[in-house]
Structure formats: C-alpha cells, structure tokens
C-alpha cells in the first residue's frame, strides 16, 4: 500500500511543476489554454496528494508496521480514535498534513477565482503551487512518511521487514483535542499562504488596486479564525495534559504559533485603512509577507530543534531546507515590494491623533511590537550565541512583564479605537462616545480597589475590561435604538438585524468582547495559589475555602496503559462538592509515564489536582503520594472568551444581509454598508451617523 502513497506524491510533484510552468509561461504568452491547463494541473496535483494522504490514513488504520513512520507513532493497542492523532504525531505526518492543507487552499482559490482576476490569477497560482512544491518535495525526498522498515538479511543486504508492533504514540499526545488541534493550527498557519499569494500576484501583475485586498480579506479572517482556535486548543491541551496548572508558558513551540497570529491580527486591522482611505499600502504588503514568513518560521522553529523546547516533539535535520525556503519566499517578496513601491503611494495622510486612523496605527504598532518581543525572547539563545558565544535564555519571568503592558495597552486601544471617527473626532463626539464607558469603568475599578484588589495589573485589566465592554454594548445599543425607531422592531430584533446587515463591524465588536473576556481570564493568574504536598491515605490539605482528602489509591489496567488512580474528596466550606480522580499512567509501548489531572471548574475558579508521583516515607515504611494542587481563578473565562472570539469571527465572515422589508436608507443601514462597494464618502458618513 505504501507504494500508492509514494505514487501519489510523485504524481503531485510532477503536476505541481507543470502547473507553475504553465501558469507563468501562459501569462507571458497570453495563452489562455496554457493558463487553463496550469489551473487544472494545480487541482490535479492536489488530487494526487490527497491519494497519498488517504493512503497514510489507511496505513495507520490497518496498523501496517512495514512502514517506518507507522511504527514510530502508533501501536496495535492504541485506541482507534488516537490513531488519527498518530497520523500527525510525528514529523513526516505533520508535514504531509501541512502540504495537504496548502493544496486544499490552492484548489479552493483556483475554483473560486476561475473566471475572475484573469491578469492576476496565474501568478497567484504559481506562488501557491511554489509553496506546495516545497512541501511535496520535503515529503517525497526528505521526510517521506512511506519509507519502509528494513533489516540486514542473512546475506548482509538490507531486506524489508514488518515490525511486530509499533512504538506507540507519545502519551502526552493521547488526548481527544489533539486529534483536531494540529489540523486547526495548520489550517491557520497555511491559510496565510493565500493572502501572501494574492499580494505577490497583485505586485507581479501590477494590479495594485483594491482587488487583492478585498479578495484576501476573507481568506485572512478564515486563517486567523483557525489559527486562533488552534492556539486555544493547544492551551487547553497544555492545561489538561501537561499537569503544571497553566495553559501558556511562553515555550518556543507556543510562541511559534502566536507570532503569525499577532501579525495576522495587525493586518486584519490595517487593511481597513487601506480599503477606506488608501493609506498604509506598503505596510500592508509588509504585514502579509511577514505573516506568511512567520507561519513558515513557526513550523521551522517547531521542527528544527534550533531552540530548546520541552515539547518539541519531532526533530530532524529539515531545518536547513526550511530556512532556505523562508529566505527565498521572503527575499523574493521584499524584492518585489521594493520594485513596485511606486504603485503603492498613500492617498491620504494622518490628520489627528483623535482619529480612527491613529487608533489603527497604535494597534499595528503594538501588535508588531508584541510579535517582535516574542521573536526576540524565543530566539535569544540563538542570537546571543552568535554574538557573544554564550547561550542566554529568558522564560516567562521575562515574557510576562514585557507582554502584560503591551496587552493592557492593546486592551485600551480596543476600547478607544472603534469610538473614534475617521479623519478627526470633534470634542463633542469624543464626549458623547466616551463619557458612559469611562465612567462605568472607573466606578467598577474603584469598587474593586475598595474591595481589596490591589494587584496593579489585574486592577488595570479589570477596569479596562469594563470600559471596553461598556463601549461595545453602547455601540450595539445606539445602533439598535436608531434601528428600532426607523423600523419599529423590538430591541432584540434590532440588535440581530443590525449585526446581520453589517457583519464585519458588529462581528468585530463580538471578537473584541471575546478578547476582553480572555484578558479577564488571564488576569486571574495574578491570584493563583499553588501548593505541593506529600499525602498518606486519609490525609487532608486545606487551600483557601477548600479541603482535599486522599481516600484511596487504586490500580487500573487497559491494553494501552496501566495506571494508578488517586480517589480524592473535595470539600468546599466543609461540604463535599466533588470526587476527584487524578491518575498516573504508564504506557508500555512508548515506555513513558504521564499524569492525568483532575479538576473542578466553575466561573469563579478551577480547583486543579495533579497526582505527580510517589516518594518513600521518611521512616521507609511505604509510600506517600505527591499531590500538586492549583487554585486558578477565572480560567473558565479564557475558554469562554475564545469561543466568543471564534463566533464573532464567523459572524464577521457572513455576507451582509442586503434587503429587508423595512429597509430605510437614511437609518443606520446607510452606514451598515456593504463593505465591498462602499466609497470613502459613505464610509465617513457611517461614522458621523453612528456618533451623531
């Protein structure tokens, strides 16, 4: 069967080369048939690659241990569900997944635009397929997932052999979210290839109007949605599976996924200025190039082992190839940008600090600064070794004090920016927009201070969170009241219709609100309590209002692992509220142990228990359980915030509802515009009306 996969990859490789060649030659010769054949070859390459990808699924499902990669990440006793996670549990499979997703995106772009943007599309396809060629080549020549097992035969020559069983999937990866976490992350990372390809296509074809921006806006949102979801799932995985009580540790692998997300967020904002004001054209190109580069760089970082990470899962010598590809992609892109600079003149200038434009400017500055800080902290060991010959490192003790102020400043801008008018806001409009949210924020902040919350960052975060939330609700409320008076709908209907008529704007507000909740959740960390105890049966531990008692330790045996489970009772104010079952497991196939944490979660806090192992008693008479207890306030709000961000993004992706029975052009609908064909005039009108 592995030959089928090999065949698929080979075919994809050939078709990809043809597709690139036909597209580029076709556009030069203005030969439509050649261009069309390049398109079809692109789709064909994806189909062939899909055959290879499906073959890998099959090899895992039937546990074909004649294939080296299957042996390395799977075993017979592995539950069927985790065999899916095992497919991308190692280097070879991850890269195959990367490539497949890129092919999928390329195909969707080709089909979506088959009759559009004819001057630009052949270049777009060539760029997308160029990336696809890189990944196909990697899978075919460097980290081939279909490589067969061999062993020296009696005559000394290597001969094929089939292993009796596989070495198993790293038990840390045996978690249900891990089946979808890598695909989500890759859908996000790879998604930035599409805006990149359109940006390159626009520059190559010198079609630098708004077309590429409008075409790629949605694609960027899709990529951003997947990447954000992937990052959240990664956080959940770390929280539940790694047992250290947190969801984010500024580990290089985590940072690798955050960097493209930060740049993508910056782009999604600054693209609005280009659409409405024709400003920041060069800057947007830079952001698109950097976002794609960061996605590639993130993959490089995770896979090359260049920086030391506790959970760098699979490493090999693919780093050099990646670095070369990154240099070619970014170098080519920046050269092109430099060459086409004269087409990207700004049509407007900043007029006031109290303007939407300046809000976006600070937004971009902070996101890019955040990305740079993450990059700097992550790469410091590498750079310091180059420059000073010594490896120097930083950990969360550096990241937190640097990233928290940036985050809080961003939170402030989240509240202020959307309330500012384009060009400049008058003093009157500032008063109208800010009075209520600022007052509400300050009152709540003062109340929290009076109630004893003194942690400066947490207090600032909560105050800002209330301010931003109030400003968002005020926006919905004002819009809905205006709509109600013109349509006679009730307030709830008005909110829904308002949102559906301008999905980008109100979906955006939802995303902002989700972010606010995320920050509330992050701030909970200021009040974390952590303790580690050695417990005998019957012992109790008190943490704040909770008491935890160790009742029993019992054994467990499954084909996949053996475990010992602690049975514990949790009392809150002396009332039994939960039984908890933290567990230690040993996986014979991979010879690794893991902890399965147990936690009780509510909106206020998480009580989180990790059975971390055993130690011998001081008198040598038996063992004591090492129990780690974390009391983590407000963690639930991180997950809720993440879900709202995702929902808001989906709303923003919906097309605007255009007609309605009681449509009134003079009402807020005139402003709830149809983003795609608005001009500057009615864009400005929207804001003056909303603030009127």
């Amino acid at each position: 069967m592995s030959q089928l996969g090999q065949f698929g990859l080979t075919l994809a490789f050939v078709a990809t080369i043809y597709s690139i060649g036909a597209s580029l030659v076709g556009i030069r010769l203005k030969n439509d048939r050649l261009i069309a054949s390049g398109r079809n070859a692109g789709i064909g390459a994806f189909a062939a690659f899909t055959v290879a990808f499906a073959t890998l699924f099959y090899l895992f499902f039937v546990s074909d241990f004649s294939v080296s990669y299957v042996v390395s990440t799977s075993n017979r006793a592995l539950p069927f569900f985790y065999k899916i996670a095992a497919i991308w549990g190692g280097q070879e499979g991850s890269l195959l997944l990367w490539g497949w997703i890129l092919g999928l995106y390329a195909t969707l772009v080709i089909v979506q635009n088959r009759n559009r943007h004819t001057a630009m599309m052949p270049y777009v396809i060539a760029v997308l397929m160029g990336g696809f060629l890189f990944f196909t080549s990697m899978s075919l020549f460097v980290v081939n997932p279909f490589t067969e097992m061999v062993t020296p035969g009696p005559d000394g020559n290597l001969m094929a052999f089939t292993a009796a069983d596989g070495r198993g999937l790293n038990p840390l990866l045996q978690y249900f979210l891990n089946v979808i976490h890598p695909p989500m992350l890759y859908l996000g990372m790879v998604g930035f290839a599409v805006p990149f390809a359109f940006a390159m296509g626009a520059m190559m074809s010198r079609q630098l109007g708004d077309t590429w921006i409008r075409t790629t806006r949605r694609w960027t949102m899709v990529a951003w949605l997947f990447l954000g979801t992937g990052i959240m799932l990664g956080g959940m995985w770390a929280y539940v599976e790694l047992g250290w009580g947190g969801y984010w540790a500024w580990d290089p692998v985590e940072n690798a996924s955050l960097m493209p997300w930060l740049l993508g967020t910056a782009f999604l904002h600054s693209v609005m200025i280009q659409e409405k004001k024709g400003m920041m054209k060069v800057w947007n190109m830079v952001l698109v190039i950097m976002a794609y580069t960061a996605a590639l760089f993130g993959t490089f970082l995770t896979r090359s082992g260049i920086v030391n990470s506790v959970h760098a899962f699979a490493q090999s010598d693919i780093g050099g190839y990646f670095l070369a590809f990154i240099i070619v992609a970014a170098g080519g892109a920046f050269y092109l940008l430099f060459d086409r600079m004269s087409y990207l003149k700004s049509e407007n200038q900043l007029e006031s600090y109290a303007s939407r434009e300046s809000g976006f400017m600070f937004n971009n500055l902070l996101f890019v600064a955040a990305c740079f800080a993450v990059f700097f902290g992550t790469m410091l060991p590498v750079f310091s070794e180059w420059i000073k010959g010594v490896k120097m490192t930083v950990n969360s003790a550096w990241f937190n004090p640097v990233m928290i102020p940036i985050g809080l400043f961003l939170l402030l801008v989240t509240g202020v920016g959307p309330l500012l008018a384009w060009r400049r806001s008058s003093l009157g409009s500032l008063k109208r927009a800010f009075t209520v949210p600022a007052l509400v924020g300050l009152v709540v902040g003062a109340t929290l201070f009076a109630s004893g919350i003194r942690h400066p960052y947490a207090l600032t975060a909560f105050t800002l969170a209330v301010f931003v939330s109030a400003s968002i609700f005020q926006e919905f409320f004002k819009g809905a009241v205006a709509r109600r008076s013109s349509t006679g709908e009730n307030l709830a209907q008005a909110v829904v219709n308002l949102t559906l008529r301008n999905t980008r704007r109100y979906g955006g507000y939802m995303v902002h609100f989700g972010m606010v909740l995320l920050f509330v959740g992050f701030s909970g960390q200021a009040f974390n309590v952590e303790t580690s105890e050695h417990m005998d049966l019957g012992d109790t531990v008190d943490v704040r209002q909770y008491t935890l008692r160790l009742d029993d330790i019992r054994g467990e045996r499954t084909p996949n692992y053996t475990g010992s489970q602690a049975v514990m009772s949790l009392f809150e104010n002396d009332v039994l509220v939960a039984r908890m079952y933290p567990e230690r497991r040993f996986y014979p196939a991979s010879e690794q142990s893991t902890s399965e944490v147990s936690y009780r979660s509510n909106l206020k806090e998480d009580f989180y228990v990790n059975f971390a192992g055993t130690v011998e008693r001081a008198d040598g008479q038996g063992l004591l359980a090492v129990v780690q207890i974390f009391l983590n306030p407000l963690v639930m709000w991180v997950w809720i915030g993440g879900i709202i961000v995702a929902l808001g993004t989906m709303v923003a992706l919906l097309p605007n509802k255009k007609t309605g029975p009681s449509r009134n052009r003079k009402s807020e609908d005139a402003g709830a515009a149809h983003g795609d064909n608005r001009n500057d005039e009615n864009a400005l009108q929207e804001d003056t009306e909303v603030h009127a």
């Binding site: 094929a160 070495r167 900043l350 490896k391 930083v394 690794q592």
Partner: protein, 150 residues
C-alpha cells in the same frame, strides 16, 4: 516628510522607547546563562559565575536518580567532554515524568561549587523509544525507498 506629519511620529516613537525600556530592564533581572556542564566549569575557572543566574543542561547518568523527601539528586553528563555534575533539585514543583535515565535535563539554579548544582526548576526531555532504538541500531529505516517499487 511634511512638517505636519512629524507629530505623528513622536507618539509611536515614545511608545516604542517605553517598550524597549521595559524589555531591557526586565532582561537584566531575568536573563539566565544556558550552558552545558563543561561550559559551566569553564566559567567557574574564569571566575565569571558571580551573581549570574544559571541554567545547565546535560544527560541524566543512568542509575543516579535518588528521591528523598527533601530533594531529588541525580548526575548529568556532558556527552562531548564526559564531565559530570551532581544536581540537587529542591524546587517546589514535582519532578517531571520525563526525568529518567538518559533523558536530557535542563536545570535552573545556583552553582555551589565542588561539582554540585542546586536546582529550583527542572525540565526534562526524553527521546522516544523509537528514536532511542534507531540510535542504538536496534531498528533501521530504509534509506532508499523500495528499490524495486516506484
């Protein structure tokens, strides 16, 4: 650049300067030297260890891990120079599951002299069973893809 636009440069520049200041001052109080066992000994000889935060890395020597109620002790070795260092881990967090014979340990803490390093945080990474077998030659991966096949 027109004069009018100059004022829009000042704001961002101030923001950037503040951030750089925050980042560098945080750096001074958190930067750690990440070293192999031999590099740490070399620094000791040169008298450069004074007041530095340290992070040392090495492979756990099999059979050296001893757990007591107060501390976990083990020895790490620099695979290139075969110099060893004893680690006494006294951190609050339990020892990670991945700390075992042959795993790669990364310890933050202070060097007390006489080849003993007192660790307050401990990370460990172990190669998968598959990787270890591959390295030891128990299993072999085909370097050439089915010569008779495609």
């Amino acid at each position: 650049m027109p004069r009018k636009q100059l004022k829009f440069v000042i704001g961002p520049v101030i923001v950037v300067l503040v951030l750089v200041w925050i980042a560098t001052s945080a750096l001074n109080s958190t930067l750690a030297y990440f070293q192999t066992v031999s590099e740490l000994y070399a620094m000791e000889t040169a008298g450069e260890l004074e007041g530095k935060r340290l992070r040392v890395m090495g492979e756990v020597v099999p059979g050296t891990i001893v757990r007591t109620d107060e501390a976990v002790k083990f020895t790490i070795v620099d695979l290139e120079t075969h110099q060893t260092m004893d680690i006494e881990y006294i951190g609050n967090d339990p020892v990670p599951d991945t700390l075992r014979d042959y795993s790669e340990a990364v310890v933050d803490g202070a060097y007390a002299g006489n080849g003993v390093f007192t660790g307050t945080t401990l990370q460990a990474k172990c190669a998968s069973k598959y990787e270890r077998e591959l390295e030891a030659g128990v299993i072999t991966q085909a370097t050439e893809l089915n010569p008779e096949g495609f």
